[in-house]
Symmetry: C2
Subunit: 295 residues, 2 copies
DNA sequence: CGGGCCGATACCCGCCGGGTATCGGCGGCG
DNA sequence: CGCCGCCGATACCCGGCGGGTATCGGCCCG
């Protein structure tokens, strides 16, 4: 399956073989064998490379999930063996003080195990959960794909637009989504790395992390929507202007759905209590969320 | 991993080997090798058998998920190859006319592919989705475990208590949960097969499907809660009495979260339209659900 | 104290998965 | 129009891994 995924992604036997560290003939044979076993053509061989058939598409999708599951099994068992800390993965550069408060709350629990905080690329957290590099993650709805995850809501916050502090709108109390879109339409779209880690071609500036993005914002070369709490980590020369009618961002603590270790359950329970108390403190309302949702 | 799961479940190398169709020594070696590779003790060997260590528990949980994913990859690819119909799995004996209506609606769509309806044991649907025996399932919240699935709500319905028609309560308009519990407390609990397909020991009658359950109910030997639409499939000598304060049952159409084929997407879209129109017809309200939820 | 159960070890074999060398077919370019 | 180069398939060889049988060592129980 690993072999098939490599060929399907590279669309080329030679490159796939190189990536796998084997030579091309055994790879060809392995794929042929797989096709025999499944009783179907997975690839359409052309003289310039390879194309996926319909069943090939299905197998690619399913294989990725399966390989992730196998990798997760190995990683999680290894961590359990070494009594290593839970791994909590967060978007690099998006670690507000709310997360610090949650970790403090957890650390002050009597039976809490240690937690290791791990940063990752933008949007990579879900992958980390699925392939076992992380046990639990901080995600932001509606941006992240919650498929196959359970989660508990930590907080809701409005979105702000990030602008250079000398920008016309920078001193306003709030703007609208329409104004934000109009503003962004005048600027080239920054290009983020895709799921494969490679930055697509295009006119805009290439951006790899939040630091580079902030540099562009400060130069007036782009603008961006972010949850309000990002003010904690903003450069001084960037203004954050509330966007009145943008949908709110929900920060959630998420973990893989297919079974939960005691350590994860404990952290989640703490997070639910913590979210409830901070929300009560902030508004004095009865908590209406804070229960785990299966997604 | 398959080997490890077998040993972990049997708690006995000899029986596990028999189940796997190999002899015991290679199995021992394979597990030892796995322990070396992961750098940890997975099993505690005693002279009477085998016990799981903490990391063993982790690996068992993760391995089950991984093996299901692999099996699913094979089955789904095979089905895609043969241009076979979508498999829709339902609880055996729980096929109300609502499902028939949904299938009719789908069949009358211009581009709808064929759908094969497959019955399964009680509570087995989720497993079928995870290991690829089914593409899509009818489930009932809050009974079924939605972890790792996406779903769309089809209908909500109150619960009814199933009683023999000669029972004292059988002619009442409604009863309460408290009354139902009191009633059930006087009767032995029927024993259902567990996840492993084996019926646990105990005092109550052993029950394997809804037919046997109905026979017991009609004899006054047990009682049961069910969604109201089960009246469609009830024997004539069983009364269904509404339970006023029981939580409503939500019927959902669910599918694996990690990626959706066109055929599944099409069925889901039809189901959403269908649910909305039937709900509108029933109540004349604006539809407040019907959007796919990622769980 | 002895027998039987259970997992581990020793040892052998066949085949699967890897390697190199080479072929066949198709596109593109001179 | 024909040749060259790229790409996947085939042929053939080898080593190691995964399977088998025979047997051992330790523990519980009678």
């Amino acid at each position: 399956m690993q072999y098939f995924v490599a060929v399907a992604e590279e669309r080329h036997f030679g490159r796939a073989a190189a990536r796998l560290g084997i030579s091309q003939p055994p790879l060809s044979r392995a794929i042929r064998l797989l096709e025999r076993r499944l009783g179907t053509e997975l690839l359409e061989r052309t003289s310039r490379g390879v194309r996926l058939t319909t069943s090939g598409e299905v197998l690619l999708r399913e294989s990725r999930a399966a390989l992730d599951a196998v990798a997760a099994a190995e990683r999680r068992t290894r961590r359990a063996a070494g009594a290593e800390p839970l791994v909590l993965v967060v978007k690099a550069g998006a670690t507000g003080r709310a997360i610090a408060a949650l970790l403090d709350a957890h650390a002050s629990e009597p039976e809490a195990g240690p937690v290791r905080l791990e940063p990752c690329g933008v949007g990579e957290q879900v992958r980390w959960l699925h392939d076992g590099r992380a046990d639990v993650a901080i995600l932001h709805l509606p941006h992240d794909e919650m498929a196959g995850l359970e989660f508990v809501e930590l907080s809701h916050e409005p979105q702000v637009a990030l602008l250079a502090d000398w920008h016309d709108h920078a001193t306003r109390d709030a703007i609208t989504v329409a104004e934000f879109d109009a503003l962004r339409a005048t600027l080239p779209e920054p290009r983020w790395p895709g799921a494969d880690g490679v930055v697509p071609d295009g006119p805009g500036p290439a951006v790899r992390d939040h630091g580079q993005l902030q540099a562009l914002v400060a130069l007036g070369q782009t603008t961006w929507l972010a949850p309000a709490s990002c003010r904690d980590v903003l450069r001084a020369d960037i203004a954050a202007v509330p966007v009145r009618d943008a949908p709110p961002i929900t920060t959630v603590l998420a973990w893989p759905a297919h079974g939960t270790s005691d350590a994860v359950a404990h952290l989640v329970a703490t997070a639910m209590r913590h979210a409830r108390t901070t929300r009560d403190a902030a508004r004095g309302e009865a908590a209406d969320t804070g229960s785990a949702r299966t997604s």
